[in-house]
């Protein structure tokens, strides 16, 4: 491994964003190393999605720095961050319902810099749909897909950007147990291809089996960081999720 590729893909430090008096993200530090899956955990309302929105450029941070692939991206518009190779999915799955599955994936391919040729785009559409398990659905309208297939399609669109870092916002939420296993395998196979992933997740089985490291947030602050088994055993984390023990 060369020195350049061992530098973190994503390095966030002192990230802060307030909405009025509520500090949604408060001086958060986190880093994602190349080829790592990092979990961003925390109870509802702890600022995880806001943190993702700050990283992907939906929101501007009030202060703090975000370095992606060696470049400062804080405050950069979302489309430029996407072109640098940072892709994401959304907590409430967002597919383009008025378009076919193939067009949904094409949306992620058509705006590369430099642009891809028509042949490359068509070939990539097929490959990506097959990759997420939607082969033979290319011509179908996206509005007719089941919930898990919408999630697959959204992932294919994100992968179409040829990302170096993928942000997954509760991508496994709402899947049934057998779908969950398929989903976990799919994410693991992305890691095996060398992709770095930052995922917000509540599904503990997925966190334990996928994540190399975890960052736990509560009320906008980072309260723990480490290997999944370590942070999930941390008293501060247990307290954040379950409340203070009232044992005598």
């Amino acid at each position: 491994m060369t020195a350049a590729s061992s530098a973190p893909v994503l390095e966030v430090s002192g990230l802060t964003r307030a909405f009025g008096g509520l500090v949604a993200v408060n001086a958060v530090d986190l880093a994602v190393q190349p080829g790592q899956i990092v979990g961003l955990l925390g109870p509802n309302g702890s600022g995880k999605t806001t943190a993702l929105n700050l990283i992907s450029g939906v929101l501007r941070p009030d202060s703090g720095s975000i370095r992606f692939a060696g470049q400062a991206i804080e405050g950069m518009p979302a489309h430029r961050i996407a072109r640098l190779g940072l892709a994401r999915t959304f907590q409430l799955v967002r597919v383009l319902n008025g378009m076919s599955c193939a067009e949904n994936v094409k949306a992620g391919l058509a705006f590369h810099r430099p642009p891809l040729s028509r042949g490359e785009i068509d070939e990539s559409v097929d490959r990506l749909l097959r990759r997420v398990g939607l082969a033979n659905r290319a011509g179908l309208p996206a509005s007719g897909l089941t919930y898990i297939d919408c999630k697959r399609l959204e992932l294919a669109r994100a992968l179409a950007l040829k990302p170096r870092l993928l942000l997954l916002d509760e991508w496994l939420a709402g899947l049934n147990p057998s779908e969950l296993l398929i989903g976990i395998e799919l994410i693991r196979s992305l890691k095996d291809e060398g992709l770095s992933v930052l995922l917000v997740e509540h599904v503990m089985d997925a966190i334990r089996s996928l994540c190399d490291r975890c960052v736990v947030m509560n009320s906008g602050r980072r309260i723990a960081e480490g290997r999944p088994d370590e942070v999930l055993a941390d008293p501060a984390v247990i307290e954040a999720y379950l409340g203070v023990s009232t044992d005598a």
Binding site: S56, H79, L96, G98, A107, F111, R113, R157, L161
Partner: protein, 315 residues
């Protein structure tokens, strides 16, 4: 090309020849009607070109139309005609870019109000200038342009608006705009510069509307702000595009032709109540045909689920 495409192309070419020769076989009344039809066809198509994919409802049609007409009123006697049209193009594009950059970041509802206000603002500015600087409210348009010239120019503009609309729909810009219309957040995360795409399309659409105003100006010989910046035009264009279906390039034209005829008939037969009837027609269209005639036709002919809805105000 398939045989049907060749047949369609031949039919279009033949239709164009028939239309181009119209001044030689139609009398003055039908020529004037044809000018109205072409005027609204271009206006509604240009409007739909922007508002169809982005679902932003613009009421600025009359602002651009009036600016085109005033460009001719001010420069028509001074400069050569092609140069006047070129300047109108430049002014329309520039104004659209300034307006676009400052407003297209807004949500759809704010955009509707702003564009409506823009037309009024430009009109008041012109009135202020005319009253305080030139000290006359109206202007005479003395240019060497006949009704036939107006007709042919509008026909050329109609061909241009369809050709450019067709090219845009097949370009990356057209695809980007469809994605923006579906979900702007997704569009940004696909690497699309959303503001640039919207402003570009808004400017292209505005140039066509400005040129219609410029080409139509000689028809009046006398213009004043209330004629050139008539807000009814903005609403009529929206109704036409919605009747036809703004999500297809040729949809607005399908709405423009019957409604132009209807409005002509109404203003001749019921001059005092025509606005009321137009309002009722608007309501009926929005309730009965949310995707326009084209949307209905697609639904019936393909028996597919609901096609993309007509432009809606984003919130």
């Amino acid at each position: 090309m398939s045989p049907t495409q060749i047949a369609a192309l031949l039919a279009a070419g033949l239709g164009l020849v028939v239309l181009a020769l119209l001044p030689y076989y139609a009398d003055a009344y039908y020529l004037s009607l044809a000018i109205s039809l072409l005027q609204f066809t271009v206006l509604a198509t240009a409007w739909g070109m922007f508002s169809g994919p982005t679902r932003y409802v613009s009421l600025a049609t009359t602002a651009f139309f009036g600016v085109g007409a005033y460009t001719v009123a001010v420069l028509g006697e001074v400069l050569a005609w092609p140069l006047v049209l070129l300047i109108a193009t430049a002014i329309g594009a520039l104004m659209a870019m300034v307006v676009g950059i400052s407003t297209l970041r807004l949500s759809g509802l704010h955009f509707v109000i702003f564009t409506f206000g823009l037309a009024e603002l430009v009109r008041q500015l012109v009135i202020w200038y005319e009253v305080n600087k030139t000290r006359v409210l109206g202007r005479y348009v003395f240019v060497d342009i006949t009704q036939n010239d107006i007709y042919w120019q509008l026909l050329a503009l109609a061909v241009a608006v369809f050709a450019i609309g067709w090219l845009i729909a097949r370009s990356r810009l057209g695809f980007a705009l469809r994605i923006i219309g579906e979900d702007e957040t997704v569009a940004k995360h696909c690497g699309i510069n959303v503001t640039l795409a919207k402003v570009t399309l808004f400017a292209i659409s505005a140039v066509f509307i400005t040129l219609v105003g410029a080409i139509m100006a000689p028809r009046w010989t006398y213009i004043e702000p209330s004629i050139a910046f008539n807000p009814t035009i903005s609403f009529q264009v929206v109704i036409m595009a919605l009747l036809g279906g703004a999500h297809r390039l040729w949809g607005p034209a399908v709405g423009a032709i019957p409604l132009t005829l209807l409005f002509e008939f109404l203003s001749a037969r019921f001059p005092s109540t025509s606005t009321l009837i137009i309002g009722i027609v608007f309501l009926l269209i929005v309730y009965a045909l949310p995707s326009g005639v084209v949307g209905l036709w697609e639904r019936v002919s393909r028996r597919k689920p609901e096609p993309p809805a007509a432009p809606q105000v984003q919130t």
